[in-house]
Symmetry: C2
Subunit: 210 residues, 2 copies
Amino acid sequence: MALKTDFNDKQIQILEVAETLFAEKGFDGTSIRNISKVAKINIAMISYYFGSKERLLESLIVYRTSDLKYQLDNLLQEDLEPIEKINKLIELYINRINSNRGIYRILHFEFTSKKREQNLQAFSELKKGNLKSLESIIEEGQKKGVFRKDVIIPLITPTILGTFFHFHMNKPFFENLLNLKTEDLYNNYIKTNLTKHIQQTIKALLIYES
Amino acid sequence: MALKTDFNDKQIQILEVAETLFAEKGFDGTSIRNISKVAKINIAMISYYFGSKERLLESLIVYRTSDLKYQLDNLLQEDLEPIEKINKLIELYINRINSNRGIYRILHFEFTSKKREQNLQAFSELKKGNLKSLESIIEEGQKKGVFRKDVIIPLITPTILGTFFHFHMNKPFFENLLNLKTEDLYNNYIKTNLTKHIQQTIKALLIYES
DNA sequence: GTTTAAGTTAAACACTTGTTTAATTTTGTT
DNA sequence: AACAAAATTAAACAAGTGTTTAACTTAAAC
């Protein structure tokens, strides 16, 4: 069975249950019986539709990461000051990852070990594209003389995304520390304070002269 | 069997094999038969010494994270400018995590989900202590008037550690992108460029006035 | 040297794993 | 209504899971 990019209703139902469970308990921590029980389908349907558990994961990645590039390209062509573009890019990243936590958690967890390196190709292309977009914004700012020139551009993405992920992966700790008792409060903190912190950090890094 | 803090040679042998395998393939992806085979001991020895696979993980955390607090306290009492203390703290963090990648990868991966929240207590105390240390350095700098006052201190740790983790978890990607063909080149890049990037970022954040 | 405890072993336990089979039901087409 | 393709099912498969057992060996204590 070849890797498809369009899925029927039942397949989508399976994919979304798998997304939740993989994100919650990891790929190895989730059994196909577990998935089929929650999705209320027979175990055999997963092999029938996707071929195997591994292929189910691959399909899930395809299903969720296909339109990010489009959103980024749109941002690039907007008529904004470089720093405003950076701020918008950060907002786009955080918003997108935050409302697709499941899949990004899975990407973060499952696609780092050598074990699944074969499936890593498409993911790697996505990251390269994202980096190119960031590069073009920063180089524009450097030409205009508003950004310093001694920053290491490929390390800026780790700072943006890493800050978010580290915050989110220590969710129970920060919920407790910052008194974010409800899911709404937590989400709101991300959308305002955390996003602002990251924007403030990157802005300082790009503009400050020591 | 109570949770011990001192281990005999055979236990340490098991713990270190477990560390490697958990880091490589995750907790669920590693079987006790796998561990016992690599450690060249009988399967039953793991239950005999640690009680269960879960308790083995707990023991591993205890075994590896017991002396970080001591190192931090030492740094606090050194006679340095606040910004120098911050730089040293960043260096300490990165160095320590980088030379204990296994356990930190495990902490990062296994202790985030609700699933193992019970074992999270000791880890949470460690993080609170670390935050207190960072807070005291920054407040010192603010009193001296060299650090701005509108930074959100608890979000600085995510930026420091998150940047490192995100970089390291995308190791294959950055090895390729930055031409870090050998393990030595990779480690060297972390010790110099990545550490400098993080120091530069945090410095800019703490000092830059918009 | 005997007794007690600690260490070590292979085998068995009950249970879960991902995948496949073959039979049955549903759906769509003529 | 008859046929073929697709969807769905329960059951079986072999292999792997964490843990426990009971027998055995080694080491320590008296």
